[in-house]
C-alpha cells in the first residue's frame, strides 16, 4: 500500500478548510487522510510543503541517527579521521554521543560495500546484541555467535547483490558458503531466499536482515539473474546440525578470506557499546563488554581481520590505562569538530536537499543573519547531531510563525536558541568546547 501526504496551499490559509491541492507519496511512509486533515493541515503536512517551497526536496535535518539516514552517503562530509581509520590495522575512534561515530562507521561500510569485486575490505558492522544476550558481560563465545551472525547477514546480502560471484565460484565452494550462512543467519536461509524470489529485489531483504542504509545499492541485479542465484542456493541441502559459535565464526572467516578472497581483509566495525542501560554512562561496563575480544584484536590483524572500534569518549581513559598497547596513540583517534566543519555539515545537507540549487541558510535568511551556520555552530554543543537539531529548530521556529513569505529572522534564531538551551542534553560531556 502506498503512503500519502496531503499537501495544502500555502496561501496563508492556516485555519480549517484549507484547500487540498496535492496528494503525493511521502518518503517516511506516513500520510494524513482527509478525515483527519482538518486540524492538521498546517501543523504537519505544510511543514513538508514549506520545505519544498524553500527549495528543499526533503527534510535533511530530520534523521538524527546516521544508520537510519538514506541520504547519509550523499552529504556526509569528508573528515580527516576517515583516512586514519582506513587501512590494514586496528583502530579506535572515541567521540561523545552525536559526535559522528556511527556516521563514520556507515561511511566505512559504504566505502567497502561499493564496487562489484572483492578488492575492498569486507565490512561487518558489529553492534553487540545486548538484548539477545540479556547481559552486558558477554563471554568470548557470546561474541563469536554474534559476530558470526553479523557476518552472515552481510555476506548473504553481498552475494545477493553480486550474483556473478556465485556463478563463477567452483561448484565445490558453494556447499561451504551455504553451510556458513545456514549456520549463522538469524533464521533459515531458505526464508531469505524465498523473500528474494517473491519480492524480486533486495530492499526487503536488506530490511529483514536489519542492515542499515549503507548496504543499499542503487543497482540490484536483474530479476532473472537474481532468481537464478536463488535457485543455486535453494538446491543445496541444509545442514542438520549447528556447531558451537567459534566454529561458526571461523567458517565465515574462511569463506571471506579464503573462498571469496577479500583482498582488503575484513573490517570488524564495532559500534553501539553504549546502547544498554548499564553501558550508557559507565566506562567500566563498556570495557567489560569489549574485554573478551580485545585479546583477539592483535592476532586477528595478523589474519587480515581489522577491528575498527567506534567507542564512547568517556571510556577512553579507562581503556587506555587498562590496555595501553592496544589503545596506543597510533591506533587511537578522537573526532574533533570545529565551527567551519560543523557549518559544513549543514551546508552540505542543504546542497543535497536542494539538489544543488544553494548550499547555505543564507539563501533563505535575512541579510542580518549572514553566516548563520557558523553562528549556530558556535552556539550548539560541538557535535554534528546537536548542530542538526539546532538548525532544524530554527526552521521550525520560522515555520511556527506562519509568515511564509519572510526569510529566516533573528527572532527565529533567538527562539531556537532559547529552546535549545532548555533541550540540550545535559549528560553529554564534550571536551573540545569551541
Amino acid at each position: 500500500m502506498y503512503a500519502y501526504v496531503v499537501f495544502v496551499t500555502l496561501s496563508g490559509q492556516t485555519e480549517l478548510g484549507s484547500a487540498l491541492s496535492v496528494i503525493t507519496p511521502d518518503t517516511n511512509n506516513n500520510f494524513l487522510w482527509p478525515e483527519t486533515m482538518e486540524s492538521t493541515l498546517d501543523e504537519s503536512t505544510s511543514w513538508l510543503q514549506w520545505l519544498h517551497r524553500l527549495g528543499l526536496h526533503f527534510d535533511p535535518f530530520d534523521t538524527l541517527n546516521a544508520a537510519d539516514d538514506p541520504h547519509l552517503g550523499e552529504y556526509l562530509i569528508e573528515h580527516e579521521i576517515f583516512a586514519r581509520l582506513w587501512g590494514n590495522d586496528w583502530a579506535w575512534v572515541f567521540a561523545p554521543p552525536g559526535g559522528g561515530k556511527t556516521a563514520l562507521r556507515c561511511r566505512i561500510s559504504q566505502t567497502c560495500w561499493i564496487g562489484q569485486e572483492t578488492n575492498r575490505p569486507f565490512p561487518i558492522p558489529y553492534l553487540p546484541p545486548f538484548l539477545s544476550w540479556s547481559n552486558v558481560a558477554p563471554s568470548l563465545e557470546d561474541h563469536f555467535g554474534a559476530l558470526a551472525q553479523a557476518a552472515a547477514k552481510v555476506l548473504l546480502l553481498t552475494l545477493a547483490y553480486r550474483p556473478h560471484w556465485t556463478f563463477r565460484l567452483p561448484q565445490s565452494a558453494l556447499p561451504e558458503i551455504h553451510k556458513a550462512l545456514a549456520w549463522s543467519l538469524p533464521g533459515p536461509l531458505q526464508n531469505y531466499l524465498d523473500l528474494c524470489q517473491q519480492t524480486r529485489d533486495l530492499e526487503q531483504l536488506r530490511r529483514a536482515l536489519d542492515l542499515d542504509h549503507a548496504f543499499a545499492l542503487p543497482n540490484p541485479p536483474e530479476v532473472d539473474v537474481l532468481l537464478e542465484w536463488c535457485t543455486i542456493w535453494t538446491a543445496l541441502p541444509s545442514p542438520t546440525t549447528r556447531p558451537q559459535a567459534q566454529e561458526r565464526w571461523e567458517a565465515l572467516l574462511r569463506v571471506l578470506l579464503e573462498v571469496l578472497d577479500f583482498d582488503g581483509g575484513v573490517y570488524l566495525l564495532v559500534d553501539g557499546l553504549d546502547a544498554a542501560p548499564e553501558t550508557v554512562t559507565l566506562p567500566e561496563a563498556v570495557a567489560e563488554v569489549l574485554a573478551p575480544i580485545l585479546a583477539a584484536v592483535a592476532p586477528w590483524a595478523q589474519q587480515h581481520i581489522y577491528v575498527k572500534g567506534f567507542l564512547p569518549a568517556e571510556s577512553q581513559p579507562l581503556l587506555t590505562t587498562r590496555y595501553p598497547e592496544l589503545f596506543s596513540t597510533p591506533h587511537t583517534n578522537t573526532i574533533q569538530w570545529t565551527v567551519p566543519l560543523l557549518a559544513q555539515v549543514v551546508r552540505r545537507r542543504i546542497f543535497v536537499a536542494t539538489q544543488g540549487d544553494f548550499d547555505s541558510l543564507d539563501a533563505i535568511a535575512s541579510p542580518a543573519l549572514r553566516g548563520l551556520e557558523a553562528w549556530l555552530a558556535a552556539a550548539a554543543l560541538p557535535l554534528p547531531r546537536e548542530m542538526l537539531v539546532l538548525t532544524r529548530r530554527v526552521l521550525q521556529e520560522h515555520f511556527k510563525r506562519k509568515d511564509y513569505n519572510s526569510p529566516l529572522q533573528e527572532t527565529d534564531v533567538q527562539n531556537a536558541l532559547r529552546w535549545y538551551r532548555a533541550a540540550r542534553p545535559n549528560i553529554i560531556q564534550v571536551d573540545n568546547q569551541l
Binding site: M1, A3, L16, N28, N29, N30, L32, W33, E35, T36, E38, S39, T40, E43, S44, D62, L64, N65, A67, D68, P97, G98, L127, P129, F130, L131, S132, W133, S134, N135, V136, P186, G187, P188, N191, D194, Q198, T199, Q204, R207, A208, L209, D210, G272, D274, A275, A276, P277, E278, V280, T281, R385, V389, Q396, F399, A423, P425, N426, I427, I428
Partner: protein
C-alpha cells in the same frame, strides 16, 4: 470552522472535560504549538502537567492513524511495568519488557486482522508467513483465553485468526534471535500490508506518579536507554508523561542521544483562548466565537489567564458555568455582577499535594514553600474540613495550638480572649489568600462567613 452534519454535542462539551468522554473532540480540537512534532513519525515523550491535554493528544494521534476508521499503522497501547521490589533496571529486565511489548503487538495485530482480514489475505506470501510466525511465536498464554472473543465472534477475520493459530507457521527466526531482528522482520512484513509501521502509545503514565514513581521511573529510564529499541524504522513510540517525570527521564540514554524527542506541552494565553473559543463555538453550534462576547468586564480575560494558568482543562472548567448561563440567557454578555457571582459559585478546583508544600489551584501549580509553617497547617486543616465553616477559635485552638477541643469559656483550660488571637488568624488567612486566591481582594476559595468563621471552597 465548518459546521458538521452530525448533531452537535451542545453544552455537554463542558461536561466531564475528560478527553475519554468526548467523542466529538475532533470537531473543536486545537493543536498545541508542537503538534507537528508530536504526530511526526519519531519516538517522542510528551510531558505535560495535569489538565494540559495529554489524553486529548493521545486520542488525536490515534485518530491520525485511521482512514475511515481503518488503521494505516499498527497502534499498540502499552507501557512498561514498574520494577518489582529488589529488581534491577538491567538489560535483562528490558528484554522482558520487549517480550511483553511483542505480546501486545500480537493482540493489536490480531484485533486488526479480525476486523480487516484483507490486510493479511492481500499481502504477499512472504509477508503472510512472517505475520503468522510472529503471531504464533509472541502471544503469551493460550490464544483461546487471550483472544477468545476475537476467535469466536462472527467477524470475517475470526476464521483467519483461528487458522493463523491452528496451522503451524514457518520458522522465520530462530528462538535466540534478538528483539531487534524480530522488529526488523515484523516491520518489513507490515510495510506491505497497509499497516505502514508500529506506533506504541503509552498514555496513563500519570497513574504511576502517585503509586510507585521511583521504581516505575527506573524501569522506564532503563527501557528508554536501550537504544536498539528506538533505532528501528517503522517502530515509533509516543509516551505521555507527567511533568514531574521530566528531570529523571531526560537523563535516559535515548533522550540524551536524541533517539527519543521530548516535547513539553505548553500553551500560551492566546492559544488557550483560541482553544476555548473553538469549544464554545461548538457548544453553541456557531462557526466562531469571541471570548469577549461572554463578558466585557475588563478583568474577565486576566482572571481567566490567572485561574487557568497554562492548563486547557482549567480554562474550560472556569468557562463552563459562564457559557451555560450565556446560552440560557439569550447569548447576552454576562453583566459583571453575574460573572462575579458565578465565579464565586464555581471557584477553581483546588488540590493540596500530600507530599509537599504545593497546591494546585485551577491551572496554577503553586509553591507554598514561602508560606509560614502555621499558615500551611491552617490550609491543610481547612482542606481536611473543606466546605465546612471553621470558626477562628477552632483555627486557633485546634490548628494553631494543636488542641483536640476548642475551649469555650474562661473556665476552660487554654482559653484566651478572641482579641488575643484573631489578629494572628487574620494575618494567616491574609497570607493564605495571597498565596492561593486568583484575586485576593475578591476571594472565591477562602471565603469569610460573617460572624461564623471561614470556609475553604473545594470542588472535587
Amino acid at each position: 470552522m465548518a459546521k458538521s452534519t452530525v448533531p452537535t454535542p451542545g453544552l455537554s462539551v463542558f461536561g466531564s472535560l475528560r478527553a475519554e468522554d468526548e467523542p466529538w473532540l475532533h470537531a473543536c480540537f486545537t493543536p498545541p504549538p508542537e503538534f507537528e512534532h508530536i504526530i511526526a513519525p519519531r519516538s517522542t515523550i510528551i510531558f505535560g502537567g495535569p489538565g494540559s491535554g495529554k489524553t486529548t493528544l493521545y486520542q488525536r494521534v490515534r485518530a491520525h492513524s485511521l482512514c475511515d476508521g481503518k488503521p494505516y499503522r499498527l497502534l499498540v497501547d502499552w507501557q512498561p511495568a514498574p520494577l518489582n521490589a529488589g529488581e534491577q533496571a538491567t538489560i535483562a529486565w528490558v528484554k522482558n519488557q520487549a517480550v511483553h511489548l511483542f505480546d501486545h503487538c500480537v493482540v493489536a495485530l490480531s484485533e486488526c486482522l479480525a476486523r480487516w482480514p484483507e490486510l493479511y489475505t492481500a499481502a504477499p506470501a512472504w509477508a503472510q508467513a512472517r505475520l503468522a510466525w510472529f503471531i504464533q511465536q509472541y502471544l503469551q498464554g493460550d490464544p483461546k483465553i487471550r483472544l477468545g472473543p476475537l476467535l469466536e465472534n462472527t467477524q470475517s477475520g475470526s476464521d483467519l485468526l483461528t487458522q493463523l493459530f491452528s496451522v503451524p507457521a514457518p520458522i522465520i527466526l530462530y528462538p535466540d534471535a534478538s528483539p531487534e531482528q524480530v522488529i526488523a522482520e515484523l516491520t518489513t512484513a507490515l510495510s506491505v500490508t497497509g499497516l505502514g509501521g508500529i506506533w506504541v502509545l503509552s498514555d496513563g503514565l500519570e497513574d504511576w506518579s502517585s503509586v510507585d514513581a521511583p521504581s516505575f521511573l527506573r524501569g522506564l529510564g532503563a527501557f528508554l536507554s536501550t537504544l536498539p529499541l528506538f533505532e528501528k524504522a517503522g517502530l515509533v513510540y509516543k509516551l505521555w508523561a507527567p511533568l514531574a517525570f521530566e528531570p529523571e527521564l531526560s537523563r535516559a540514554g535515548g533522550l540524551a542521544r536524541r533517539r527519543v524527542d521530548s516535547v513539553r506541552l505548553q500553551w500560551t494565553p492566546d492559544e488557550l483562548r483560541r482553544l476555548a473559543e473553538r469549544r464554545i463555538a461548538l457548544a453553541l453550534n456557531e462557526p466562531t466565537f469571541d471570548l469577549t462576547h461572554l463578558s466585557q468586564d475588563e478583568d474577565f480575560l486576566p482572571w481567566l489567564e490567572k485561574v487557568g494558568g497554562d492548563a486547557p482543562r482549567a480554562w474550560l472548567d472556569q468557562l463552563g458555568p459562564l457559557v451555560k448561563y450565556f446560552a440560557a440567557h439569550g447569548q447576552k454578555s454576562l453583566e459583571t455582577k453575574t460573572w462575579l457571582r458565578l465565579r464565586r459559585e464555581y471557584p477553581p478546583k483546588l488540590y493540596l499535594s500530600e507530599d509537599g508544600y504545593r497546591v494546585l489551584v485551577g491551572g496554577r501549580d503553586i509553591d507554598l514553600e514561602e508560606l509560614p509553617a502555621k499558615s500551611y497547617e491552617m490550609l491543610h486543616y481547612l482542606y481536611q474540613h473543606a466546605g465546612t465553616v471553621i470558626s477562628k477559635a477552632d483555627l486557633y485552638y485546634r490548628c494553631y495550638l494543636g488542641l483536640e477541643r476548642t475551649p469555650r469559656t474562661g473556665e476552660d483550660l487554654h482559653y484566651v480572649s478572641p482579641k488575643d488571637y484573631e489578629g494572628l488568624i487574620d494575618t494567616s488567612l491574609w497570607r493564605l489568600r495571597r498565596a492561593i486566591e486568583p484575586d485576593p481582594s475578591k476571594p472565591v476559595l477562602l471565603v469569610s462567613k460573617r460572624g461564623r468563621g471561614v470556609v475553604l471552597n473545594v470542588r472535587w
